[in-house]
């Protein structure tokens, strides 16, 4: 009986101890005290006058590349000021910049400037400046962001032409530029000039596999921020090799068949008037072929769509003849887009960014094992045939011109 009492007491004390758990969260953080990081911009710092930043390390590690990091913060103050009417309009975000030679120490340096705890769970974009990606390996730049558990892997990567910091600025007070950029990455439905979104989750596989790839480019011009073409990252060096313009990017989207919508403008030969084809669906099949150890590719692009606009005086969409003509001119246009980008990637940049290697890996895995080491080089000499086949399904509510 005595023994039982002892255990009963023990049980009771355990239960009482459990009560302590109800007092609340151990490491809670109040939202008023947080500065939500909406986006981050990374730039190469060119000014040499930064000796105090690296005091101590300066002599041992001279010539370290300097990075300027800009965090876009949303705090309780910035959101409140947006609501108050009558008060002078204040921006709904706050950009904070600091400079150093690695990421986290710089971010921590920001603590000296701001009273809020930076909280990165809601970070949507990371914009990397052109110069920085030319000088530093992307893997090293992103290492912190891939390691930190507070960064969600759903954040998007963008590369800025010129200056990345400027892409996180806006004259409009109500807009949060980082969220704005994030929303644009999702608008692939209606244009072929945007790449499929590239999140941190996707980029780590690409970096590790050693293949070359494209990153969406964003540019800030006269206070306006817009998406413009794509940046080519070379697989071997993991650095920026160059850019593709919007036309070339369209060629890539057609080649990969990853587009979800958009338009193609071509010109009617006889009248030199535009015919606009709106894409309803897009499909592409890259078929690798191997004959006597020689690799080649056949690309078959198919699309269905409609005539969304045409300025041709004699064009009568009620007649199939005109539809055929529209298909032909549009096909020509798409072919030239594709040809254009193939020349650029195979001859100028000598990298495979349209996923030809991936198709070879799937269809001929053993061949791929042999060529993957030097794939970009091999690819630059491989013949590629392509064939575009479009179908005009309808022409909207108007049959006449």
């Amino acid at each position: 009986m005595k023994r039982r009492n002892f255990f009963w007491l023990l049980k009771c004390s355990l239960v009482l101890l459990l009560l302590l758990q109800l007092t609340g969260c151990w490491s809670s953080k109040e939202i008023e005290e947080l500065g939500l990081v909406a986006g981050t911009a990374l730039d190469l710092e060119k000014k040499a006058d930064l000796s105090e930043e690296v005091e101590g390390h300066e002599e041992r590690y001279p010539n370290r590349v300097m990075i300027t990091i800009t965090n876009q913060l949303i705090t309780s103050q910035t959101t409140e000021s947006g609501k108050k009417t009558g008060a002078p309009q204040q921006k709904s975000f706050k950009n904070v910049s600091e400079t150093g030679d690695s990421i986290l120490p710089v971010l921590r340096k920001m603590i000296l400037k701001i009273d809020k705890r930076a909280f990165a769970q809601h970070s949507k974009v990371i914009v990397i400046g052109e110069d920085l990606t030319r000088t530093l390996n992307l893997q090293q730049i992103l290492d912190f962001f891939l390691r930190e558990q507070e960064m969600r892997l759903s954040g998007q990567i963008l590369i800025a032409k010129n200056n990345a910091k400027k892409t996180l600025e806006s004259q409009e007070t109500s807009v949060i530029p980082a969220f704005h950029l994030f929303q644009i990455t999702k608008s692939q439905e209606r244009t072929t000039k945007i790449l499929p979104p590239l999140s941190l989750a996707k980029v780590m596989g690409k970096l590790h596999s050693g293949s070359s790839f494209l990153v969406q480019t964003v540019v800030s011009e006269k206070g306006e921020v817009k998406f413009a073409g794509a940046a080519v990252i070379k697989g071997k060096t993991k650095k920026l090799l160059g850019f593709l313009n919007e036309k070339e990017l369209e060629g890539i989207v057609w080649l990969t068949g990853k587009g979800k919508g958009g338009v193609v403008k071509s010109f009617d030969k006889a009248t030199s008037q535009p015919i606009i084809y709106e894409i309803k669906s897009m499909k592409s099949k890259i078929q690798p072929r191997i004959v006597n150890n020689n690799i080649s590719f056949d690309v078959k692009i198919e699309s269905e769509g409609s005539i969304a606009e045409h300025w041709v005086p004699s064009g009568k969409p009620f007649e199939n003849e005109f539809l055929k003509k529209a298909e032909k001119t549009t096909e020509k246009e798409v072919e030239s887009l594709v040809k254009n980008v193939l020349v650029k990637t195979q001859q100028n940049y000598r990298v495979d960014v349209a996923g030809f290697g991936n198709r070879l890996r799937i269809e001929y895995p053993r061949v791929w094992e042999k060529v993957k080491q030097d794939w970009d080089h091999t690819f630059s000499k491989i013949p590629i045939k392509y064939n575009v086949n479009l179908t005009v399904k309808d022409y909207g509510t108007s049959g006449s011109n």
Binding site: L14, R152, S154, K202, M204, S209, I362, E363
Partner: protein, 363 residues
Amino acid sequence: MKVSHKDRITTPQAVIVLINYILAAGILTLPRTSVEKVKTPDVWLSVIIGGLIAIIAGVIMVKLSQQFPGKTIYQYSQVLLGKWLGGLLSLLIVGHFFTLAAYEVRALAEVTGFFLLEGTPIWAIIMPFMWVGLYLVFDGINPIARLFEIIFPITVVIFLLVTFMGFEIFEIDNVRPVLGLGLIPVLKGIKTTVLAFLGPEIMLLLTAFMQKPNKATKVILVGIAIPMIFYIITVIMVIGALSIDGVVLRTWPTLDLIRSFEIQGLIFERFESLLLVIWIMQIFSTFTITYYAASLGLSQIFKMKMNPFMYGLLFIIYVIALIPKNINDLFKFGDLIGNAALVLFGVLPLLLLLISKVKGGKT
């Protein structure tokens, strides 16, 4: 000490205990550990083969237990091998159970401390968890089985919901080609995937608690097939989203899958906390069943009451859980338990079954 009548469990309960035991810490790391070995997207084939091997091992253990109705391995091993050798084997099995319990507790502390409760000290995470476990195992197998019956459907629903939301970032090309480099890579991954199915050994004692012990083979088949489906979905979805090159770099790839997408327009945009919730419940179930199995073992070996052993083990498990110095140590600790289990439950039951056949079995 025979198993008392109120401690019987039904066949579905046995299935659920087995499933909840198998699903544990491993599901968060399985895509990485298996891709590291296989290096092609064929990992899901390794998972299937691993599951089949686990089924075979499980069936052997069930057949062995069925030779001695109403008795657990701790009791009949002494009959088969004599008092000392049988006792030693039982102690080894008890050791397996409580080190596994300690491993699960530590894995839980690492992941929740990292993703959910940053800044909370490790003891503050472990202790309440273990006390609740103690509270559950006090009253034997029946309450354990009934709690598992509550946990299991929640796990299934949330798991399927959360993983299939990842379809947004799924790329079929990442899981192709199938058998591109032949069968050899698949075979290389089998050892890893077999270890993910650690759990059928519970049948060595669970068979004794079953109302219908003759259905134990069925328990093994269903109880391993369901985790196998879970694992196949996990590896395919994770590799499809992150690609094999991405998966090998991630510490907790399954969690990263859920961290890689946001769904706008629903009440929740992010689901990693939901996944962690069911994962914690699964760890809890694995912890309690191993904890119970170890205490039961000690009480049957030394023919004493169970309660003192429960308190004692609580302390031992806590100490063992704190041994690994860092996360790599923890993973190594897990491998060690797995390797020991391969010998303990892959080879020994077969030997015991042969001995029992030679000796004439039923006594």
